[in-house]
């Protein structure tokens, strides 16, 4: 007995920071799109654990281009689609209290300026004008990129989902992909615990689970989850504009960052050092004391803000810190959008459009360069200057 299977143009695995905007973009291009996610609603994997920073001020042109487009989409979302995603153009500031960081940031600045980014070095006086509450003692200055900003990962991912649904995209939640069938080296169908679906293209947007999805078609995707902890405070009156990033390593953390969201809450996070590999997202006792100390040292005013909630999320890490984007060389129709290394939220909207052009086969010259740089076939040997 045979059942007639639902057939889709594109099946996206993962309804998160990448999957939701990609579904939106694919549907806009007219593709019959299905998104499958093992969680029970949109953005419930790593997306909702993201803190919401969006910047184009990277050092790698591929990421810069993708994020410039994301910035455009985030910043015009409300006027275009009517829903508020808490976009805030507060800028980013990488601060320096030691010469090492000053040097590193200034070197990077040269590259960033060459790539046309709106970013400047501010001396302590100028920086304190932008961030009056910074601890001035030993402050050497910092970068400021006013066009960067933040949005709510909860609201934004949900907004992409809502618009995608309006355009006809289907989302199957609470469904786990168990098999992906190929026929003569080409994607043929996707099989879950609840159904079977035919399609020509599968997009792997499974975040920290991307490696496991790749294994279903024997494609090795070097993505390993690294667990980061974050927390959020009560809401207070607006007093802080940019996202502040301190890249000084310190026992337990290689850097940390925080900003004030549109609800008035401070959201903060560290990059653990050494990395904490694995899928565990259980809160530990180490995070809050470690990060609190670092935050108060650079912004003493934060000592009285009340911490509300803490959590852990997974960064899908790649060996070189850059995402893995592009067609699988071994399985035709298997498109990777993986290993965003904790930047899935800011890359997502730009990446969704790039993937759409890849499927449409309408890639631009810039796209080709981006895809080359993020290719699954690359060597994974160059480390980004500043991740």
């Amino acid at each position: 007995m045979t059942f007639s299977r639902q057939t889709y143009d594109v099946i996206i695995i993962g309804a998160g920071s990448i999957g939701a905007p990609t579904a939106f973009s694919m549907s806009k291009a007219g593709f019959k799109t299905l998104v499958i996610d093992k969680f029970h609603s949109v953005g419930q994997g790593s997306s909702k654990r993201a803190i919401g920073g969006v910047r184009a001020t990277h050092s790698d042109p591929a990421k810069i281009n993708l994020c410039l487009r994301s910035l455009e989409i985030f910043s015009t979302w409300k006027e275009t689609y009517g829903t508020d995603i808490d976009w805030c153009k507060g800028g980013y500031s990488f601060i320096a209290y030691r010469q090492e960081e000053e040097r590193a940031l200034k070197n990077l600045l040269l590259v960033q300026k060459k790539l046309g980014l709106n970013i400047e070095w501010l001396d302590p006086h100028q920086l304190l004008n932008v961030i009056p509450d910074l601890n001035p003692s030993n402050l050497l200055g910092g970068t400021f990129s006013p066009d960067d900003g933040s949005a709510s990962p909860l609201l934004a991912t949900h907004a992409f989902y809502t618009e995608a649904c309006a355009l006809g995209a289907e989302f199957h939640f609470g469904e786990t992909v168990q098999r992906i069938e190929t026929h003569k080296g080409k994607i043929a169908s996707v099989h879950t615990d609840k159904g079977d679906y035919s399609c020509a293209v599968v997009i792997n947007a499974a975040g920290p689970w991307a490696k496991q999805i790749g294994e279903l078609v024997s494609v090795d995707i070097p993505v390993e989850p690294d667990s980061h902890e974050a927390a959020i405070t009560e809401s207070v009156a607006h007093f802080l504009n940019p996202m502040i990033v301190d890249i000084r390593p310190s026992p337990g953390s290689s850097n940390f960052y925080f900003y004030q969201n549109r609800s008035g809450q401070i959201i903060f996070c560290i990059t653990p050092s050494p990395n904490i590999w694995g899928f565990s997202v259980e809160e530990t006792s180490e995070f809050l004391p470690m990060v609190a100390r670092r935050m108060i040292e650079i912004m003493p005013r934060l000592q009285n803000i009340r911490v509300r909630r803490t959590w852990r999320g997974l960064y899908p890490m790649t060996p070189d810190g850059n995402p893995i984007v592009g067609w699988s060389p071994t399985v035709s129709g298997f498109l990777l959008a993986a290993g965003t290394c904790g930047q899935g939220f800011m890359l997502g909207p730009g990446l969704g459009e790039l993937l759409t052009r890849a499927v449409l086969d309408t890639t631009t010259a810039t796209d080709v360069k981006t895809l080359q740089s993020l290719s699954p076939e690359r060597e994974f040997s160059n480390l980004e200057m500043l991740r």
């Binding site: 609603s41 909860l154 009560e234 207070v236 004391p289 609190a292 108060i296 005013r301 000592q303 509300r308």
Partner: protein
């Protein structure tokens, strides 16, 4: 200046405290030393402490327990939860209107390392269950840290002015809650192996098996216990109705805190929603504090609480409306009236049965939910974790005392005291103490109408036995094998010597004496009495009531007897015709006029039913999402921010789940929300090791 302090109370002693001064909105007022800011504000009649940043709605005290932030004020430039902070001389206090300004810092405080402590047993919660467990462990010399978020041990016992039910031998039945708290506290303090940390809420159970605790708001520490006991009690359920966040609407716990701990009157005229023990007892507490109780609604056809608690209310003149619900709390900026209606079999309000009453407060007592999140985390993270009291199962404090004792013993056994065991009788007692109120039998006429007859107006099976040990001649009998049986008087009219011990010792105040000896046609009736409002004296007239609150008319008081052996229950004697003498069960203390409905009812058109008080999310919004197909609680959170506010979803989670059920979505189809620490909001500085925040 208006004065909303309690200056006289039949049970509680009113301490003399030094007067201090403070400013509220630039005007000077007096406060009492050592009281909370919220108490000082309520004492001068303040009901609105600020306005919400989202919609400008007035914010009044709600939990009185440090969990929400509705009572936030700005004191000396610093935003503080007023229910948790003591007032200080010269404090300059302003309402918290809108988003608060984070105070600026002039100097950088020293950052200290976070202390880590290893201990065999950590107990979270110093209420009846936690204390009993600590005592049991203390007896064996087991090292224990007991943390409690209050400055006094005893949990909710410290608000209970009534005598406790249960078994005299096992759990101090017949003693007032506040006095049980004192006894347990005294008992636990004699064990050197038990360390008590007051004002020290547990904030999180972490996956590395450490528990984060804020000690007295001045130090954050991490405790690694070999065994964790969660005895964190219960939290109140809340209710959806229009106007449900108006200042003046609060839970029973908050009300009891303000009245019986802080000794202030947040209300003059109170309406109670919920006829379980908590609502009934809170009503009685209100009356003792000279607060009028306009009425009580209960949606079920019968009150769920002990009948003797209900009787205490109705016979002093509080009308109870069963099969009724609250439709709305009404008022401009604060509660001015309540509208209620009868409900049909499906608990839907019946049109045309609406009634409104003038009142300034609405007390919600619609049940309790266990505070068991530390337990779930402890188990999840592989810490040997035990649970006791309301955190495990909602029951009376007497049951909590006993399960705490059992858990204490179990923990000791798990730590290697393996010569101990749990006597089967303990298990049996704990089951009996947990039992829900049982069968109600008809209150019959006494057999004899001569001599002296104690009349037992207690006709519901509840676990309670103090009366059986109060009679010096052992004439009141309860089968000691099952103390849930109704007590019976064993004698005829010539056995009782009218010592009145049963009258003043019955926790339900449900025993009267009828003395036929002087005048068989107009016998003397002795009735327990626990009020000090408008002090009564001999020759006054007073209205006698039956168990159901029916009046027998006015009678002259013959005498008022206070027993030196007894704490605060007096006996009022009246004489009445023999036909009604045995039916008289109590005395009206509240005039009828307070409970009269208003002419015509007050409709509440605006749909302002709030589900999430912290983020101001409406019930309508949630319902709309559920109807649109939302089944993941997390998605509702994402879109509305419900449960993401300062209380961490403690109030709205249960309500949202209830809306799902109202929409006929089964629990199995709903994905529960992810629960994350912290249990309570704490300043970032504490985590950085900034100690002693005091200026």
């Amino acid at each position: 200046m208006e004065d909303y302090r309690i200056h006289e109370h039949p049970i509680l002693s009113i301490p003399t405290r030094k007067k201090i001064h403070f400013c509220w909105k630039n005007q000077q007022f007096e406060a009492l030393e050592n009281e909370t800011i919220s108490a000082a504000l309520i004492a001068i009649g303040v009901k609105v402490f600020g306005h919400h940043h989202k919609d400008g709605s007035p914010q009044g005290i709600f939990c009185a327990n440090g969990q929400c932030s509705q009572c936030m004020v700005i004191a000396n430039g610093k935003p503080l939860k007023s229910c948790m902070e003591k007032i200080k001389e010269g404090m300059d206090i302003h309402p918290a209107d809108g988003l608060i300004e984070l105070p600026k810092i002039t100097s950088i405080a020293a950052l200290n390392p976070i202390r880590e402590i290893d201990i065999p047993v950590l107990i979270i919660g110093g209420g009846p269950a936690g204390l009993s467990a600590a005592i049991e462990l203390g007896k064996l010399g087991v090292e224990v840290i007991l943390v409690d978020d209050k400055d006094r041990l005893g949990g909710k016992l410290v608000f209970q002015t009534h005598r406790f039910f249960g078994s005299t031998e096992a759990v101090y039945a017949g003693t007032r809650g506040i006095d049980i708290a004192t006894r347990l506290e005294k008992d636990v303090l004699q064990y050197a192996s038990v360390k008590i940390w007051h004002n020290s809420p547990a904030l999180a159970v972490f996956s590395d098996k450490k528990i984060g605790i804020s000690i007295d708001g001045s130090e954050y520490v991490l405790v690694t216990p070999q065994v964790l006991l969660v005895a964190a009690g219960a939290r109140e359920k809340f209710l959806n109705f229009k106007g449900n966040t108006l200042p003046g609407v609060y839970g029973a716990g908050a009300f009891q805190t303000l009245v019986n701990r802080d000794l202030v009157k947040p209300a003059q005229k109170l309406f109670i929603v919920g006829g379980g023990n908590v609502g009934l007892i809170a009503g009685y507490h209100a009356l003792q504090a000279d607060i009028g109780v306009v009425g009580l609604v209960e949606a079920l056809p019968e009150c769920g609480g002990y009948k003797v608690h209900k009787d205490k209310l109705v016979r002093v003149g509080v009308p109870i409306y069963t099969s009724h619900t609250i439709l709305s709390a009404n008022g401009d900026g604060q509660v001015e009236s309540i509208t209620i209606a009868q409900v049909d079999k499906n608990f839907k309000p019946v049109v045309g049965t609406e009634k409104s009453f003038a009142c300034d407060s609405v007390l919600i007592a619609v049940g309790l939910d266990p505070v068991n999140e530390f337990y779930s985390k402890g188990i999840q993270y592989g810490i040997p974790t035990f649970i006791a009291g309301d955190a495990e199962e909602i029951a009376e404090a007497s049951a909590a005392i006993f399960t705490g004792k059992i858990r204490g013993r179990e923990i000791a056994i798990s730590l290697g005291h393996d010569t101990l065991d749990i006597p089967p009788a303990w298990i049996r007692t704990s089951e009996v103490l947990k039992s829900k109120p049982g069968h109600i039998s008809h209150e019959g006429e006494p057999e004899y109408h001569e001599g002296v007859m104690p009349i037992i107006h207690c006709n519901q099976e509840i676990p309670c036995n103090p009366c059986s040990s109060l009679c010096p001649h052992g004439l009141i009998f309860i089968d000691s094998k099952d103390i849930r049986h109704i007590p019976t008087f064993l004698g005829d009219g010539y056995c009782c010597e009218a010592c009145q011990q049963c009258i003043i010792g019955c926790p339900g105040l449900a025993i009267t004496l009828v003395d036929y000896r002087k005048d068989a046609l107009n016998p003397t009736i002795s009735i327990p009495y626990e009020f000090s409002r408008e002090p009564i004296k001999a020759k006054d007239t007073i209205t006698a009531m039956d168990t159901e609150g029916k009046s027998f008319g006015e009678f002259e008081i013959l005498s008022i007897i206070s027993h030196p052996s007894n704490d605060h229950t007096s006996v009022v004697e009246i004489s009445a015709p023999r036909e009604i003498a045995a039916k008289i069960a109590g005395l009206r203390v509240q005039e009828k006029i307070i409970s009269e409905p208003l002419d015509g009812y007050i409709p509440h058109i605006e749909d302002d039913t709030i589900v999430c008080r912290c983020e101001r999310v409406m019930a309508g919004e949630i319902r709309e999402l559920i109807r649109a197909g939302y089944r993941d609680f997390n998605e509702i959170k994402t879109v509305t921010r419900a449960s993401m506010g300062s209380c961490g979803g403690k109030t709205c989670t249960a309500i949202i789940k209830r809306i799902f059920r109202e929409e006929r979505i089964s629990d199995a189809d709903v994905t529960d929300q992810t629960k994350r620490p912290l249990f309570m909001e704490i300043p970032l500085g504490l985590f950085a090791g900034i100690q002693n925040e005091e200026e």
